[in-house]
Each structure stands twice: as structure tokens, then as C-alpha cells.
Chain length 80, copies 2
Amino acid sequence: MIAIVNVFLKEGVLDPQGKAVHHALDTMKFEGVEDVRIGKQIIIKLSETSKAKAIEEVTKMAEDILANTVIENYTIEIVE
Amino acid sequence: MIAIVNVFLKEGVLDPQGKAVHHALDTMKFEGVEDVRIGKQIIIKLSETSKAKAIEEVTKMAEDILANTVIENYTIEIVE
């Protein structure tokens, strides 16, 4: 079973990496870019076969170590 | 229009960040974790309204600056 955890900064939290990429895109004459935000995508391969248990386990991982919930949100998706 | 670009290391390329998270999860007694890979998720807000043109533009961005295509693959998704 594969879980995909997307971790991204909360709305309103400054994203310097995104700002840097936005600036670079402007410099390279890409037009019409209004905003860039950069997050992490964590792909976890689990031996667990129950989808419900996998979500429970991965939620705990996200809360404990993958995301800093003070400034970051996360989404969890189980793909197979 | 919002484009999501997922950039991840190619199969076979060492992912030290993923290895570190895998190790941390093991240390924290999370069981059944077989593999962890970590990629970047870049969310770009575009003023472009044509989906085809947005894909074309974002593909160029990915090739030119967002991904290092020697060691990384990317996927592009247009969400709205």
C-alpha cells in the first residue's frame, strides 16, 4: 500500500522558496505567474493492507514527524 | 488556473532525505514502513485560462528550472 502525504505551508505563512522560484520564473520571462508555493511530497510504501489502518498510521506519522503543524498543513492519499 | 508540479528523484537515485525519514520512523516504532521517498510539490497559480496553453507553459518551466531532469522526473496536473 502506498501513501502520499503532501505537506505545505499554511495560508499566510511566508514561503521564501516559493518566492525565489517565482522571482526566477519572472526573470526567465515566463508570463502570467501569479503565485508559487512549494511543499513536500512524501511517498511511503507500507506493508499494511487495510486502507483504514494505513490512513490511521500515516496520520500519526504526519502529526508526529512529517509536518510541523504549527505552520504546515498536510493531506493524505492512499493510492494502492 | 492552478498547476501542480510534482518533482521526484528517478528510480535508483539515492534519496538521503527519504532514508533519514525512514530511519526516524523506525526509531519511533512505526512498523511496516518499507520505503520512503521525498519529492517537491510546486503549486503555481497562473493567469492563463487555456488548459492546453497552461500545460505547455508549465512543461517548459519544469524542464527549464523546476526539475533537474538528469536525476528527477516530474508530473504536471492542472486543477482548476
